[in-house]
Symmetry: C3
């Protein structure tokens, strides 16, 4: 139940981010819906395709599509008020990537993948909805270019999970700890403006 | 046989639309062929991937690839005459989306998906070849931004199908009726310039 | 063993080409890694998805991801020296497409596909990593627009393979011959500036 609520909140946060990008691009109603849907479930869909888990998740669980439909209607009707939700959306999104990373990792473990592959799957689940959103909107994916700690938080959380799992603790502790680590890193990085190292030398500091 | 002819006409119409977009972008011969192919079979390919129906359809039925090869040669040779075909192309395309929507819906029913998922699959089959075409050509997909009744006609036809199926009629009637509804909505929408509701308020009417 | 070395060299060459494009776009460290990875394994991943060979290859063989990680670090550290490697990179890339084409063709044969589908799979394996790279970097794929003999060399090599196989020779000869034909066509086309036929008439020669 707790899991379910978080999952819905994650889809809502991702879908709203999709609506915002789509409306910036002046897409029509159908386009806004598709972008919202893809942002919400695209990462999990890509994960399911890569591991052959088909029909993909959203085809088997209708609450995803209903959640996106309601979210899009809500977001369009209250589009002028969405800016007041910015902090809540950041929180949902951050909780969402924490949870989605672990969902992806678990799916990888279930089919016997190596830890590094599980972490890749988790990061794809959390981050690639946004990548597909940006490609469909004809932009370079924002997580590839902002030097933000976003996917990096997912990777760090995934690594932590496999380290904590080695301790003599119940697996559930490692699971929850990893989610909290992802959320914590993401929040601290935004608060203290911690970024990825600059790989372009001083000339790009202009 | 009838089905087969319509399927070929649909692939031809989609492939020619791919050639036209690719030539606008001044792609080379290989690029034009890939765009034509992707426009013709991309929707069905995405559908097959999402439901795990692999190898995807065009790998199992060679007539798709041959149809596209012949269409591309024809379209390049007669490129100056293609504009005279505009009405025929619109008709083929419209018949194509009607048929493809129902093909996708049927595939969804065969694997026991819910009606809303079947309608999604049908719409993906009919419309996402064009989406992939536009992404490969570095454009925002045209069906996301024109406020046109295109995907909407597929969705409406799919909903009609599941409603008509409840009547005490042979299933074939519902199938054909849904195709005609899609074609009818599309033609009427173009004829009477019916569009999706504007979600941007008056400032976007400039 | 020989096969393995070539495969690694191919991944390295493709990954470096990804790093170069990603750094041109000023992507951050994460973006550079993803583009390098996608360029290196994207073609094989798309092939595996289309034929339903999941989890896709790189999830089952960790050396791909490790090779890309090492290559990206190397390429970033020595970014100013990469231009001196241009000839080696061209050779690795050319050997890579030769080998990848045949890997794709073999996978198609293993599941009983027709020759034309095997050749398509081979060409996808060799060329579509670069296509996905360009899409993620918001460019029209370079192999669609340069009139270069690149994918065409893969197709020609694939056709040769199926012709040579008909001779009363061990299959290994046909395999190696096809790889050499692809490499040979590619090198000759670059050396003598042989291009695809112009399909736009004289007005595009401006």
């Amino acid at each position: 139940m707790f899991y379910f609520v978080i999952d819905i909140l994650g889809v809502i946060a991702f879908a709203i981010s999709g609506v915002l990008v789509a409306m910036d691009k002046k897409l029509d109603l159908f386009g806004v819906f598709i972008i919202a849907f893809v942002t919400g479930v695209g990462g999990g869909t890509l994960r399911d395709l890569l591991i052959g888990n088909t029909p993909v998740l959203w085809m088997q669980q209708p609450f995803y599509i209903y959640t996106v439909i309601v979210t899009v209607i809500f977001a369009i009707v209250f589009r002028d008020k969405l800016k007041y939700l910015r902090t809540s959306l950041f929180l949902f999104d951050t909780i969402g990537i924490g949870l989605y990373t672990m969902v992806g990792i678990e799916k990888g473990l279930n089919i016997g993948l190596l830890p590094i592959m599980c972490i890749s799957l988790g990061t794809i689940t959390a981050c690639f909805g946004g990548v597909i959103r940006d490609i469909l909107c004809n932009e370079i994916p924002v997580i590839f270019s902002r030097k933000e700690i976003y996917a990096t938080a997912c990777i760090a959380g995934g690594v932590s999970y496999f380290l904590i799992r080695k301790l003599p603790l119940d697996n559930a502790y490692a699971y929850v700890a990893a989610i909290l680590i992802i959320i914590g890193i993401r929040i601290l990085a935004v608060k203290f403006k911690i970024a990825l190292p600059n790989i372009y030398g001083s000339e790009s500091n202009k």
